[in-house]
């Protein structure tokens, strides 16, 4: 990060020396802080409330509709956090989009890479689906699945498609909001039927969570891939020809 206020320094040699001293001083201070915090942390571990939420959280898992305790926390006990976390991702992407159109893509791939891409991408998508499904009873879930989809997008962009294989802008926008939208609507629907916001009836919990997770997976995948693209989708804009069209 460049800071204009510090741009001019009178004497570089002395300033550098002072800089180094400052860095060292800071290092010593922070090291002391680290040691102190470790001591305090040890105290907290020893005297702290040992089971914390673990036993309670594990005990209630059978009522959550899923078997993986982490998924239970993410999508049931603390579903509201997850909803807002999806909103954070959306906000970051909207921020990226607000900064301008996507930069140029990559040169087209050679045969070896293309060969790899042609079967890594489907594999990633399959793995994503697997992650999503497995999340109900074993480690995995929407975020990991979405990250795999996003990685698929990354590799597609690396292989030469500047839009990372994403659909047009309108579709992208809908896909992006899909996760939060389904999540919120399910929550509100439950509230409307008297259960309370994001309070799943045990019988429906499994399916509602799966629905939310599927939507979230798609949204996360699209958001991560679009974040890697790094700007507004350009294909729809006649002013910006797709950079990959330029022969190089």
């Amino acid at each position: 990060m460049t800071d204009p206020t510090f741009a001019t320094r009178p004497d570089p040699a002395r300033a550098a020396e002072r800089d180094r001293d400052l860095k060292l001083l800071l290092a010593v201070l922070l090291a002391l802080l680290g040691v102190t915090m470790t001591a305090i942390y040890a105290l907290a571990l020893n005297a702290g409330a040992a089971p914390r939420l673990a036993d309670l959280a594990l005990a209630r898992v059978p009522q959550t509709g899923v078997d993986n305790p982490v998924t239970a926390v993410l999508l049931n006990y603390r579903a509201y956090d997850t909803l807002m976390e999806l909103a954070v991702l959306l906000a970051a992407l909207l921020g990226i989009w607000s900064l301008g159109p996507a930069p140029a893509g990559f040169q087209r791939s050679g045969p070896v890479l293309a060969g790899m891409v042609s079967w890594v991408v489907p594999l990633l998508i399959v793995a994503g689906g697997y992650m999503l499904w497995v999340g109900g009873y074993a480690p995995g879930g929407a975020f990991q699945a979405g990250a795999l989809l996003g990685a698929a997008g990354v590799i597609v962009r690396l292989a030469g498609d500047p839009q990372a294989g994403l659909p047009g802008e309108a579709a992208q926008r809908w896909l992006l909001v899909l996760g939060v939208l389904v999540f919120t609507l399910v929550g509100l629907g439950l509230m409307l039927f008297g259960a309370g916001f994001l309070t799943y009836p045990p019988k429906l919990a499994k399916w509602l969570i799966l629905l939310i997770e599927s939507a979230a997976t798609l949204a996360i995948g699209v958001a991560l891939a679009a974040a890697y693209v790094g700007g507004r989708p350009t294909a729809t804009s006649p002013l910006d020809p797709r950079p990959s069209a330029q022969p190089k």
Binding site: M1, T2, D3, L22, K23, L26, A27, L30, A31, L33, G34, M37, T38, Y41, A42, L45, N46, P51, R52, L53, A54, A57, L58, P69, V70, A72, V73, L74, Y77, R78, D81, T82, E85, V88, L89, A91, A92, L93, G95, I96, L99, G100, P103, F143, I220, L224, A227, Y228, G230, G231
Partner: protein, 94 residues
């Protein structure tokens, strides 16, 4: 609880290391890396707290918190890096 203390302490070291780097290094990329390391330090502490030995199942709550934290961190990283890219573009134009 040796492992908890070991990993938690390492997390705290990562935390201070990240902060130190954030404070002393100018380039954006290094600041972003520093922040991610700081974050990793905090996650370390949380995961260490969740760990209850190899026999007992770990506490799922901190795991979920860390997952959320990771998404937040990557979102922020992406935004920061692209903000930096735009900044560099405008420098190049100037």
């Amino acid at each position: 609880m040796t492992a908890q203390l070991l990993y938690g302490g390492a997390g705290l070291m990562l935390f201070v290391l990240g902060i130190w780097s954030f404070l002393v290094h100018e380039p954006l990329l290094r600041k972003v890396i520093a922040l991610n390391i700081t974050g990793a330090g905090v996650f370390h502490v949380l995961i260490a707290v969740a760990y209850r030995g190899d026999a007992a199942p770990p506490d799922p709550v901190p795991h979920a918190l860390v997952l959320t934290g990771i998404v937040v961190a990557v979102s922020a990283t992406a935004l920061a890096l692209i903000l930096g890219a735009r900044l560099q573009d405008s420098d190049d134009d100037a």
